[in-house]
Amino acid sequence: MIIAERKPLDELMAMLDPFEKILIVGCGMCMKACSAGGNKEVEALAAAVRSLRQEKGRPVSITEKTLGMQCSPKHVLQLSDSIKEFDAVLSMGCGAGVNFLADNYPQSVILPALNTKFIGVTVEDGVWSERCIGCGDCILDRTGGLCPIARCSKSLLNGPCGGSMNGKCEISRDLDCVWHLIYERLKGLNQLYRLDELFPYKDWSTSSHGGPRKIIREDLKA
């Protein structure tokens, strides 16, 4: 899923400062799952903003609403009747959710409450970690299922660099060297020969370097 983190309250308060009637919109998918912007987080943020503005002597009116997801028209269009009433909409969706609200409501001020971080996994309660950068041309068949593009600090494709030591990455002793993990995995799978192949130059045009991406599936189009 997509993992995000709420922006610091100070930053949000400054962002909301000019507005009186605010709609905070949560997302019931990834943002709920990573505890960054589900209904609980919407409630908590609304309470915090209300009380801080109260203290400043400039009370606000905040409406809370959590959509099933912020990245699908069916859900986002649920706001079409009410959204005009608000001075600003604070989205607790990921960056895609914020964009999609802005795409659909050209007249409304749409603000981001979160910093969207990465496509990743819940390692354990309260710990998330990156696994994929969405490069658009998956290579995981060659690397034992572990992604060096997302998880190696230098996105190397031909094995661990000279800074890999004791299984850790040269940039931090708290970070596993994914190439060490790949090595161990391929060894266990009897596939070490995979590492002897020269990995072809990566075509980054399928990634964000090729410009904003789009998928069209004719079979599914209305």
Partner: protein, 305 residues
Amino acid sequence: MKSGSNLEKILESGQFAVTSECGPPKGTSAQVIKRKGEILKSCCDALNITDNQTAIVRMSSLSGCVILQNMNIEPVMQMVVRDRNRIAIQSDILGAVALGIRNLLCLSGDHQKFGNHPQSKGVYDIDSIQMIQAVKIMRDEKKFMNGEDISGEVPLYIGAAANPFADPFEFRVRRLAKKIKAGVDFIQTQGIFDMDRFSRWMAMVRDEGLDEKVHILAGIIPMKSVGMARYMAKNVSGIRVPKELVTRMEGAKDAKEEGIKIAVEIIEQIKEIEGVHGVHIMAVAWEDIVPRIVQEAGLMPRPIV
């Protein structure tokens, strides 16, 4: 001859090579390079110019190389993939060749996080092994990475790094084999302190017959102080300084002298290892000491080729 460089001639004629390096200044003074070049010129066959080493912004490697070349000193241009995409890499290579550069060392580069612009975007469009491959194709087939023709020759002697002290240990020889497969001509290793591990690595290299396919120059880092020994032992990823050496530095009356002695001893031992074809001395901010080390290690005078 692939490049006709001095370094190539020495290595291909079976002689023991000595290289060292110059770090360019954090500024615009050519004098800094000239001064280092002057010190190192008579005791080395070629001098590396580092490429924004440890991700700290310095004068570009190419300009440093040209400054050396104007003094009749042969440069080895270092180039990292951290800061350039394939367009810039190939373009800089064309320019370097046009300016007379004949030795190129292909590196990944230290991560930008270590440097003085940790906010910068790392490029890593291709990795160092792919860069070797690209340069070889540019040289031997006169083709760009996309298959288009290059006009003119690209005579380069292709170098790369190898680190026998990084992990996983068993992979280190496979990685060298990969660099050879990609087309590397010479290797400069990480600084060697752990002779035992280096010897084991070299034995594996010989078992695979790799020493016959590439020239290995063993990396030497003279230790200037106890602090430096301790720092490298503790903090530098990819370097292994055995405890005994740190203790020896600590116990010495004159740590600098001890550091020189250790460097000379390591070179003496390395000269005896089959398959090592030279040394690469990295005396960062201590270039003055290199001539003495080369002299005491019995590597003077340098051959004229």
